[in-house]
Symmetry: C2
Subunit: 436 residues, 2 copies
């Protein structure tokens, strides 16, 4: 049972396992969790049960229910919004015009409307803010305005933002070695990397994701991270922190961008050690409790209570919009400054485009990665948080636009979703930039 549960949980913890598409993939509408009736009834019928460990809860189409219900499956920590009144976002809706916008998906000659792109991308929530006001807001599938949705690897961008804040404030020196902050990592591949290399994921780490190899690092990591009790004969690392100490080097630090979640787990450790606060607590203290959030967020934890800084957060759509506004307005929201403007200026500048090029992202050519944010280096100066299965907070400074998409696309990798979304974002940005 344990092993099946671990297999079932792997894509959540690692957020990379490609889900096999069925020959006839269900559409967004056909795979709507309300249509399929997952977890409905008291009790749900056996074939409608998502939660049981052998039910493969993070495979499509079940994942379309699961993305809104991680806390029912796993232990979590709260990211408190505090207890005061939320600061509501203003509305200036322009949904009919936006729905009708058309664009050509990458590599396609056919045009697609904005509205069609939402279904094509299995969108669960779409929020567009222009000049600080909501111009577009839609919910589908498992999500509504009171719900929370897995942010997946957008969690990394929260961890990276907190690290950038500590760097800008001088309490973390990104030129120092990881060992100088976390001596326990001295003998691991992280030890002689700089904090900046970890923040920009240019470390050289041996971390294989060959799912067919039972000894692959991904499996060791997954077993370590799983909050369920370890089997009696288990002798591997227990929790994120123990796993990180076992990571071996591969190649050199600082040469190429390698998107490996374990960098963020190491960064989570670093910012906790420096701040004296857990990732969840620091995120609440610095951001969530000060941005007028309307909902708490939460983060899954390992068996020792360490939050999954690399991918464990769930949050509401509009609260992620507030994160986008904070980034767009360089640290200010509701007339309050939460962090120095140089934080965003640094992120927008981006990381090494040369290092990024080596990773071969076809849909992100010319881009870079810095402080756990993706930088497009396009004429709009756009940058984004991104997570598997279609999550994004997309910030376009030129258009004064923030766009948040929460989704449950059948396959994990965003390369499959970018063709019908990045060009669409550009079209919306152009529309908003020129409409006044």
């Amino acid at each position: 049972m344990i092993s099946r549960s671990i297999i079932s949980a792997v894509t959540f913890f690692c957020a990379v396992l490609p889900v096999m598409a069925t020959a006839q993939m269900l559409s967004q509408e056909e795979s709507d969790p309300r249509t399929l009736g997952w977890m409905e009834g008291f009790p749900p019928a056996p074939d409608k049960m998502v939660m049981q460990p052998d039910s493969n809860f993070f495979s499509f189409p079940k994942l379309r229910w699961t993305v809104c219900h991680f806390r029912e499956l796993l232990p979590t920590e709260q990211v408190s919004r505090g207890i005061g009144a939320p600061e509501p976002l203003e509305y200036d809706l322009d949904e009919i015009a936006i729905d009708a916008l058309t664009f050509k998906p990458m590599g396609s000659r056919e045009t697609m409307t904005w509205k069609e792109s939402l279904a094509a991308n299995y969108t669960d929530g779409m929020l567009i803010l222009h000049q600080g006001k909501i111009v577009y807001e839609r919910y589908f599938g498992c999500l509504d305005e009171k719900g929370k949705h897995g942010a997946m690897s957008m969690t990394k961008s929260m961890t990276g933002l907190l690290a950038e804040i500590l760097v800008a404030e001088g309490s973390l020196d990104d030129t120092q070695s990881v060992t100088s902050i976390i001596p326990e990592l001295a003998d691991s591949a992280f030890g002689n990397a700089t904090i900046r290399q970890v923040m920009d994921m240019t470390t050289g780490l041996a971390y294989s994701e060959d799912y067919s190899d039972p000894d692959a690092d991904i499996w060791i990591y997954t077993r370590a991270a799983n909050p369920l009790p370890k089997p009696a004969d288990y002798s591997g690392p227990d929790g994120y922190f123990e796993y990180l100490q076992t990571v071996k080097p591969e190649g050199s630090h600082g040469e190429a961008f390698h998107y490996k979640t374990i960098n963020t787990d190491a960064l989570g450790w670093i910012i906790s050690r420096v701040s004296g606060k857990e990732f969840t607590e620091l995120l609440s203290h610095r951001i969530w409790s000060r941005m007028g959030a309307e909902q708490d967020a939460y983060v899954t934890v390992d068996g020792k209570g360490t939050p999954f800084a690399g991918g464990g957060m769930s949050a509401g759509l509009r609260d992620l919009g507030r994160i986008g506004l904070l980034m767009l307005n360089e640290g200010e929201i509701n007339g309050r400054r939460l962090f120095p403007a140089e934080v965003v200026a640094g992120l927008r500048q981006g990381g090494s485009r040369e290092a990024f090029e080596k990773a071969g992202y076809k849909t992100l050519k010319g881009g870079s990665y810095r402080g756990m944010w993706w930088v497009f280096h396009n004429e709009n100066g756009a940058f984004a948080a991104r997570g598997v299965h279609g999550q994004t907070i997309y910030v376009d400074p030129t258009a004064d636009m923030v766009l948040v998409r929460l989704a449950s696309f059948p396959t994990a990798k965003n390369a499959a979703i970018d063709p019908t979304s990045l060009p669409a974002y550009q079209v919306v940005a152009e529309y908003l930039r020129t409409r006044n």
Copy 2:
């Protein structure tokens, strides 16, 4: 590992296992989780780790940390407060005078001050409301105003309240048999009990709590309720609903009060079937999202996502104060009526005192139990929600007083805490009733 984990979790799921007192019991101050340093550090030192399954997380003094952190140990469901602004409670603090009040604990000739009683009872949070305003509010141990604390069996009173609302509104007939609502329970001991007998716990159910007997019902229930994956060779019931179907009769229904948590799990099933909403969702819909709550609450779930209606809720101190105000003001709060006044009138009237007497509660002589609330039948007309380790929402209509105590008393049973608390509540009530 699983078995150790189950043992560790048993007092949480069943909330009845007496915790052995050490010869020299640590005082409230000595056992403060911040003093003992539980779960502090990145990572916590091995001897400061509470979360691991073999650490016996619900034994004193670790339980003083655990009562504020259930969601980090177990899967949970949210009880949403909604997304609007909370409605703050007003203050009229009178803490110095209340701290100095004195009383004689039951069976004692020595007087004790109110302030001393807080430490004697390992209080984590104490809130007193008089005429709708906060006159006293203190936090200790793991709790602060932004924290949530295990409500333990006060959860039952939420389940009972929802059932009473459905009865008062006519959508649930409490004279009907359980089978008429839940046919799956027809062959169990619940089948021919009336809904009212379940609500008042006068059912005759075979449910032994002999911890030394590995086949005792308490163990079967605990294994069924545990959200962790079942061992491969497990063949028992999975989840609350399956367990309830296996309960055998013992004695007759309607004759005596027997405090058995499984009644509340059955009632949780009944109100879900009738309302079409899970316990958590119904509680949010009818109460939590309408009372001006400042925090969401949450409830632990079994492996099939069924909320633990018998004991799984955690909530903030002031939000439990709002529940008390709702009861005191017979369904009204902030000028809104949330349920018919007859709900509280019925509860205050109480259950069968004759049936209650047979259970032999020495500290609650003359009392009764109705709709999962404890009724004292004293001259103040007081009634209460109560949970192991010292939880209470105590409502005194004559004094226009609500008192909420959250605590982590070393032993589970409230019989050990009542002597230093029930007389103290009476003294505070007298003081408040006469001070103006």
